[in-house]
């Protein structure tokens, strides 16, 4: 997994609440058996005017000029500013795959849906929760100032605005540690093989029908 330590980048504002993972990556693209290549289909139904199908050459498709990521000032954005409950709905990990493949490294919102939040950490994508009033203010600043960039430091748990204001955020120590170092969860778990086997032995005695 790609580690996340510091990141400085352009911010794009996605100004709606309850953005679901169906919107982030529509179902027809979930038929892929690959883990990569979802970036061109990120927010497909909002981003393009035609109906997207897997395998299309997206560079030839008509863009929806009203969609925020299609506006020239947000080209190259790597930090997505969003509203509450971002990533709700389906558990599809294709959503963080698509966001990361598009080029996003961090997401900022007042809240994220649980499964999506968890999936982000498995893919080097940092979801940052800030208070709703702070996020509201960031939206105003992004709109007011073209080329608005934020600087994120995971070790320090800070987001720094162009004016130098430092906002702090919470993250679980264990998730932070793994993301900072890009650690592979399975590798870590396999260091506990003996504990797993011991648990299985106890469980087999307590509930043998589970091992029938």
């Amino acid at each position: 997994m790609q580690a996340f330590t510091r990141h400085e980048g352009l911010v794009a504002p996605l100004d709606r609440a309850n953005v679901d993972t169906d919107a982030i990556i529509p179902k027809q693209f979930l038929k892929s058996i690959q883990r990569t290549g979802f970036g061109p289909y990120l927010f497909d139904e909002w981003r393009y005017l035609d109906r997207g199908e897997p395998g299309m050459d997206c560079s030839r498709r008509p863009l929806n000029p009203d969609f925020v990521l299609n506006q020239p000032r947000y080209r190259g954005a790597s930090i997505l500013l969003a509203r509450e409950n971002f990533g709700c709905g389906s558990s599809r990990e294709h959503a963080p795959w698509a966001l990361a493949d598009y080029g996003f490294r961090a997401l900022i919102a007042p809240s994220f849906a649980d499964i999506f939040y968890n999936n982000c950490f498995k893919n080097g994508l940092l979801p940052i929760v800030l208070p709703a009033a702070t996020v509201d203010r960031l939206f105003r600043e992004v709109y007011a100032q073209e080329g608005y960039r934020l600087s994120i430091d995971l070790q320090a748990q800070t987001v720094t605005t162009p004016e130098g204001e430092v906002l702090t955020f919470d993250v679980d120590p264990e998730r932070k540690h793994r993301l900072l170092h890009g650690l592979d969860d399975i590798g870590l778990t396999l260091q506990h093989v003996e504990a797993i086997r011991a648990y299985e032995q106890r469980r087999r005695q307590e509930a043998p029908w589970l091992f029938a």
Binding site: D15, R16, A17, N18, D20, D22, A23, P26, K27, Q28, L30, K31, S32, I33, Q34, R35, E45, R51, P54, G55, R83, E84, N85, C88, G89, S90, S91, R92, E93, P96, S111, A113, D114, I115, N118, N119, K122, N123, D172, P173, E174, R175, D185, I186, T189, L190, H192, A195, I196, Y199, E200, R203, E206, A207, P208, W209, L210, F211, A212
Partner: protein
């Protein structure tokens, strides 16, 4: 010390190891697998040269991509066909049990788990699918995971988890005739919002929950995720145990007695403390209909499409306005004036035998309205389909002009050929009314099976409480 909640008991029974910040390595008893969220996980195993830790803990089934008619001729879409074939091949390679597309036990993963008795109280159950919360109806700690975690469970039989907060939703009183678990689920989501349960494991309790059938409890737990909660739970009682007796994967003989004794502990202690408690009066709930593009955008069938001007804040005002534009609805329109183009009865929320009986009770002796282009019934599994046919429900539906299909996820998410065309309006018994969920540009109204059948025969939403034959 106060007592433990059901969630605490399930959690405590599965902890293998705990990190200093409380992150725990939890043992996973059962892993359900489908074709959409597993191929990259198997590929990961293959690349790392890893095996499946416990093949007997896995049950796999293709459900999202499968066609619901002409199944004998296979899957027409080559991309879907490859995904299903990939699951078949992965199950062969790694030695896993799969109910293939032509198996009569095939069906929606969350329907077949309980139906087979693979789902049992006291278990941890995961699946790369958010509606895994369904299995919590059996007092199992069941939740949806991403593909990285699917790979992790396949490789290690464990998952790293942070404990959630505990929420109790207590529902007291009697649901009116014609008001179902689906209406209760939607009313709860309307009340607490789609993020209301975020960070929480929700337990449903109270006299109304005890009165629900296991099917009804599954419908309710299924939609816990639509309230933001990964986990929905109902404590064990006699109904739980009666449902499981004799199922293919349920224990037998002496082990059955031992298992039942073990299962009985999976209820919250009377003095258990929850982080949040929500009280609901069942008697106040009417049949529900969603009007927007989030399950929290819901009103009673007696209500009207709301006015964005009356939204509680600016963000919602814009979301409501956008939703109304997408849905092609005007504020203040009575819900019973909204006409539908298609009707979908199915999904892991509402495709069990009880759901089909409720829909058939409305369809019996009536006809699908001329303005409804398609009304389809998609049973949750091959066994549900067979049971419905044994009861003659298929004839009721067909005589009323409904299509009677083969089992699968179908138009809940339109990964197969069943979908809405842009602008089409659908009364659907599924769980998500997101933009494009049932097909790009499609407009979804979530309702109960009886309400969906009634919308089919009247061509618009009607209050099923006013119909004969609904009890």
């Amino acid at each position: 010390m106060s007592g433990r909640t059901l969630y605490d008991k399930l959690w405590d029974a599965h902890v293998v190891h705990v990190e200093p910040d409380g992150t725990a390595l939890l043992y996973i008893d059962r892993h359900l697998v489908h074709e959409v969220t597993s191929p990259q996980a198997f590929e990961g195993l293959r690349l790392a040269g890893r095996r499946v830790w416990r093949p007997d803990s896995v049950l796999a089934v293709p459900d999202h991509n499968v066609p619901t008619r002409d199944r004998a001729s296979g899957i027409a879409d080559p991309v879907s066909r490859l995904q299903v074939a990939t699951l078949d091949e992965n199950c062969r390679t790694f030695g896993l049990t799969e109910f293939g597309m032509d198996d009569r036990r095939q069906g929606i993963v969350h329907v077949i788990g309980p139906e087979q008795g693979f789902t049992q109280p006291g278990m941890t159950i995961v699946c790369g699918d958010s509606h895994t919360s369904t299995h919590g109806a059996f007092a199992a700690l069941a939740f949806g995971i991403g593909t990285s975690e699917v790979e992790h469970v396949l490789a290690t039989q464990c998952l790293w988890q942070k404990k959630s907060k505990r929420m109790l939703i207590r529902v007291e009183g009697v649901l009116a005739p014609g008001v179902t678990a689906k209406d209760l689920a939607l009313a709860i989501i309307g009340r607490i919002g789609t993020a209301g349960g975020t960070g929480h494991a929700v337990e449903f309790a109270g006299s109304s929950i005890r009165a629900l059938s296991m099917e009804g409890r599954m419908t309710l737990c299924n939609m816990a995720i639509e309230a933001g909660a990964r986990v929905g739970l109902v404590g064990v009682d006699d109904k739980t145990i009666a449902y499981l007796r004799g199922r293919p994967y349920a224990p037998e003989g002496e082990q059955w007695e031992q298992a039942v004794a073990y299962w009985r502990q999976f209820v919250s202690d009377p003095d258990a403390v929850f982080d949040r408690v929500v009280e609901i009066d069942a008697a106040t709930i009417a049949p529900q209909v969603t009007w927007g593009t989030s399950p929290e955008m819901v009103v009673p069938v007696t209500g009207r499409v709301p006015d964005p001007a009356e939204a509680p804040d600016e963000v919602r005002r814009r979301d409501w306005a956008r939703a109304l534009e997408y849905m092609g609805l005007e504020p203040h329109t009575p819900i019973t004036d909204v006409r539908v183009d298609k009707v979908f009865i199915g999904s892991c929320t509402n495709a069990r035998i009880e759901d089909l009986r409720a829909a058939a009770a409305v369809a019996r002796g009536r006809r699908v309205a001329p303005n409804v282009k398609l009304a389809m019934v998609v049973p949750g599994s091959g066994l549900v389909r067979a049971q419905a046919e044994a009861e003659g429900l298929d004839r009721v539906f067909k005589e009323a002009g409904f299509e009677w299909r083969d089992p699968g996820c179908s138009m809940c998410l339109a990964m197969n050929a069943d979908r809405l065309e842009p602008g089409e309006r659908c009364a659907s018994t599924s769980n998500r009314n997101f933009e494009g969920r049932q097909g790009a540009g499609g407009r979804t109204h979530l309702v109960s099976p009886a309400m969906a059948a009634a919308a089919a025969v009247f061509g618009r939403f009607v209050d099923v409480r006013q119909l004969e034959g609904v009890s």
